[in-house]
Amino acid sequence: MKVAIITFPGSNCDQDCHRSVELACGSPRYVWHRETSLGGADAVIVPGGFAHGDYLRPGAIARFSPVMDAVTRFGRDGGLIVGICNGFQVLCEAGLLPGALLRNRSLRFQSHHCRMRVERTGTPFTSTFREGQVLGMPLSHADGNYYANPETLADLEAEGRVLFRYCDARGNATAEANPNGSLHNIAGIVNARGNVLGMMPHPDRAIEAVLGSVDGLPLFESLVGAIARKEVA
């Protein structure tokens, strides 16, 4: 149950992801962005941070790092990929996920706890949650304002590909609970095949009580469980 954690110059959540996978009983390993192979990994995490300084646009330069060819092939073959925060931006730029993450509507760097509702369970990433469950975890970004054209947005909704939506304490997806202006309060989506997840909030920073929340850990347990079931099957 090897999980590759891609490290770019400027990644800063790679160690959080490493610890998350460890706590979920998986075997994490770092893969430097200059590598051209994922070393037989069973899943890939693209962590948060500021890959290549976020110059030009977040993720725009990272998507051309040598390792991204291997990540793209892995994703196209159905391999499980999770992009968190900057990782989500990289996956959008790489074309593994639709849409884009624009500057926050507030123009401020948002760094605080947020709530999000689990829209769908029974995916490799959410099998350990309940539908409608409200999760609390940190977010930390300047460009998290999810945008997609109307057709793409309609597809995401019709196909149940919005896995997480910003909400209030009672689970209502209100405008006040939307930290960045994302369309439809979108916090996390999957691709059409359902094997690539991108999300702005940080489950990797919500894995131990000392961090103020453990709501993120089940996501990693779900991922490791999905790999394990595939290995057995």
Binding site: L56, I61, L102, R103, R105, L107, N145, N149
Partner: protein, 89 residues
């Protein structure tokens, strides 16, 4: 080969929320510039390119825009190529 300065203007697509433009518009309004009806903020990128013709320089810049310089989901781009150094700066 001639040296061309290629100016690439990358702008948010029409209809796309541009919070920077909104903030600047607000600031201009509060300075009394009531005639300003809308503000959009993009970026200008200057490339020094060796090419045979301005069309050639333009074409290569267009390819660069599609690959890297602009995000087709959210941005449009315009390219102008002029012979010599530092045009537009």
């Amino acid at each position: 080969m001639t040296r061309f300065t290629v100016e690439v203007l990358v702008t948010p697509r029409p209809g796309l929320l541009d919070p920077q433009g909104k903030a600047i518009h607000h600031a201009l309004s509060s300075l009394g510039y009531d005639a300003v009806e809308d503000v959009r903020v993009g970026k200008a990128i200057y490339l020094e390119v060796a090419a045979a013709t301005p069309e050639d320089a333009r074409e290569r810049a267009e390819e660069m825009c599609r690959k890297l310089l602009a995000n087709p989901v959210t941005e449009d781009f315009r390219i102008t190529a002029a012979e010599g150094d530092g045009a537009g700066r």
